[in-house]
């Protein structure tokens, strides 16, 4: 019988710890498929961040290093400078990348580090139980914004792709979403392109994936996908923001 579907080789055969319906799992799979298809597993090194994806080293079959919260792009820089022929990626949440690690992300981009960042934006700090993140939408209810984020006291959500597009050192920056099959396919394409950018030595690549956190959003997995579409996509428009 012809095999039509199988687990990507770079994805470990273990049960993931993510909550039911959390799209972290889908994104892991897309990253793994892209790696398989590009045939870069044997020269792949990953950097795990702090957040719900802290255990990503259990899921990717490659060498991985755990970074402190927010520091993954700096750690990845170190690895890549030692092994320029390796493919080095980080997998970071929005709290990790756009709050505590903003400086590392911006400066890795400014230096044009030839690394790839998979940036999972679920508009909340998932791991710590659903507090407001810099990416939390206006009006969004979180544990620390119980009546919704208020611009007057809590400022505005950060648009990472738009910000990075202004930085000379970035080679490829795209925002995608995993809310439906079409967008999932597009996400895989973007992730593949990001790795290809690194393989071609073009410099810094980042794919921002709009993702869900059903647990902390207080919605079912299906409702979460709808919420993402209706609320996140208008504020965080999908598309390529930079391509060299």
């Amino acid at each position: 019988m012809k095999k039509v579907f199988q687990r990507p080789e770079v994805l470990s055969d273990v049960v993931m710890h993510y909550c039911p319906g959390c799209t972290h799992g889908i994104i892991h799979r897309l990253v793994a498929e892209a790696i398989d298809e590009l045939n870069i597993q044997d020269r792949l090194v990953g950097v795990a961040s702090v957040g719900c994806s802290v255990f990503s080293y259990n899921y990717f079959e490659c060498d991985m290093q755990q970074a402190a919260h927010g520091r993954a792009p700096a750690v990845a820089t170190g690895i890549k400078r030692v092994h320029p022929n390796n493919i080095v990626f980080t997998y970071q949440g929005d709290g990790d990348l756009a709050a505590i690690g903003t400086a590392e992300m911006v400066h890795a981009a400014a230096r044009g580090e030839n690394i790839t960042i998979i940036f999972v934006n679920n508009a909340i700090y998932g791991m710590t139980g659903g507090q407001m993140a810099p990416t939390t939408l206006l009006g969004q209810v979180t544990q620390t914004s119980p009546y919704g984020r208020n611009a007057e006291t809590q400022g505005y959500p950060i648009k990472v792709c738009e910000m990075l597009a202004t930085i000379e050192g970035t080679a490829y920056v795209e925002r995608v979403s995993v809310d439906n099959v079409k967008n999932i396919m597009a996400t895989k394409k973007a992730i593949k392109k990001a790795f290809q950018t690194q393989i071609d030595g073009k410099g810094f690549s980042l794919v921002e994936v709009l993702s869900t956190c059903p647990t902390n959003w207080g919605l079912s997995p299906v409702e979460s996908l709808g919420w993402l579409r209706e609320n996140m996509m208008p504020y965080y428009p999908l598309g390529i923001y930079k391509e060299k």
């Binding site: 802290v54 709050a99 119980p146 809590q154």
Partner: protein, 393 residues
């Protein structure tokens, strides 16, 4: 009438913060302290406090914002754990040397690496010489009481230093216990208003906060800081006496448990004291003269008082829930032995590093420690000074 309630340690601290009603709280979440600012943010949203709540992007910024706010003349509080405290490091020293009495709840958690979320004291022990006063609490009640007293201690004109109130992650922070709360009005009266002598934008008395300070004055400023820490001991006791009048609860520099005639004693910090007290009771029933000292004030370190309290013991075990990697013993051990040096002769002191990364410490483990002390008393021999409890090797 005091209010009887059942709260977790973090809830209790958040309630203390609500009653204190600080001007500014700037915080960033980290397990197991996350709940403190989180509960507090709901008090802010519900209009129960007048506080400016700033959910900043990192702990470095949390402490920086607290420093700015406190310098601007505001009473500020924040909370953190482990790596959060580590990320505050640079700012901890600046808060202390700028003599800004910020209050910080440290919910003790093992410091990376390797990454771990459970309780030990490696976070606050690392910050022990940052110039902050350090108070430790065994229970939810103590965590609550310490935080309220911390405001008065830090702001006292003879002190003007920031204060860290530490309690154990999960064991104390998340377990729900009975607690007696002080009435809102009484807390308000007890803490009073923050009236710093110097603050920013006081046209009548312009200041520069934290300017360059070279060979000509840096040393004198450090000397003053050291003096403030010395003054703190007396102030801590005065405030404790005042708090006792208010609540009936007595606080000192450390707690002595069955120490009057103790021949063997354990010195310990935070929640493990509860486990160890149980063992002391059991040993006492068997006629063993066992006692315990639980440190409440670790900075300033009460050297004379500790030396006096241990002077009649034959053998003492100091238990450290953090290692100091100096190849000689844990931080508390180093402090206790130097307190005894030149003050008390002949007490045999050993050290146990225990519970790292949240390794459970049971009564059986504590018994091992007391048994070793009894063996030392019997033989007069110390087999090993620097020991590990409950580790696989």
């Amino acid at each position: 009438m005091a209010i009887r309630d059942r709260l977790s340690g973090n809830e209790a601290v958040a309630v203390a913060m609500k009653q204190i009603n600080p001007d500014v709280v700037a915080a960033f979440p980290i397990t197991p302290s996350t709940e403190v600012p989180q509960y507090f943010s709901s008090f802010v949203s519900d209009g129960k406090v007048d506080t400016e709540f700033v959910p900043v992007e990192s702990e470095h910024s949390a402490m920086s914002a607290c420093i700015g706010a406190q310098a601007a003349g505001a009473r500020t509080i924040t909370a953190t754990s482990a790596n959060g405290l580590a990320l505050m490091w640079e700012m901890l020293y600046i808060a202390a040397s700028s003599r800004l009495p910020v209050t910080l709840a440290v919910v003790n958690r093992a410091l990376s690496g390797p990454i771990n979320i459970h309780n030990d004291h490696s976070d606050s022990m690392g910050a022990r010489d940052s110039g902050w006063i350090q108070l430790y609490g065994e229970t939810n009640q103590e965590a609550y009481d310490n935080l309220i007293q911390a405001i008065r201690i830090g702001e006292h004109p003879d002190v003007m230093l920031p204060v860290m109130c530490c309690y154990d992650g999960f064991i104390t922070s998340h377990a729900v216990e009975n607690i007696e709360l002080v009435e809102d009005e009484k807390v308000k009266e007890f803490v009073g208003d923050y009236k710093p002598e110097h603050y920013l934008n006081n046209a009548a008395n312009p200041v520069a906060m934290g300017p360059l300070d070279l060979q000509n004055h840096y040393f004198e400023h450090k000397r003053q800081q050291a003096e403030a820490m010395k003054n703190a001991k007396k102030v801590i006791l005065e405030i404790a006496a005042e708090y006792e009048k208010l609540t009936g609860r007595k606080y000192g520099l450390f707690e002595e448990y069955k120490m009057d005639d103790a021949e063997v004693a354990v010195v310990v910090i935070n929640s493990t004291a509860g486990t160890a007290k149980y063992v002391v009771d059991q040993l006492r029933e068997k006629g063993v003269k066992a006692g315990l000292i639980k440190i409440r004030v670790y900075r300033p370190f009460p050297v004379e008082e500790i030396a006096a309290a241990l002077s009649k013991c034959k053998a003492v075990a100091v238990m450290d829930k953090a290692d100091s990697f100096n190849a000689a013993g844990g931080p508390l051990f180093t402090d206790i032995t130097s307190a005894l040096y030149g003050r008390v002769d002949g007490v045999k002191v050993i050290n146990y590093i225990y519970g790292l990364g949240g390794r459970d410490v049971k009564t059986d483990d504590i018994e091992v420690v007391y048994n070793e002390l009894l063996e030392i008393v019997k033989t007069g021999q110390v087999k090993s000074v620097y020991n590990y409890l409950g580790v696989r090797e």
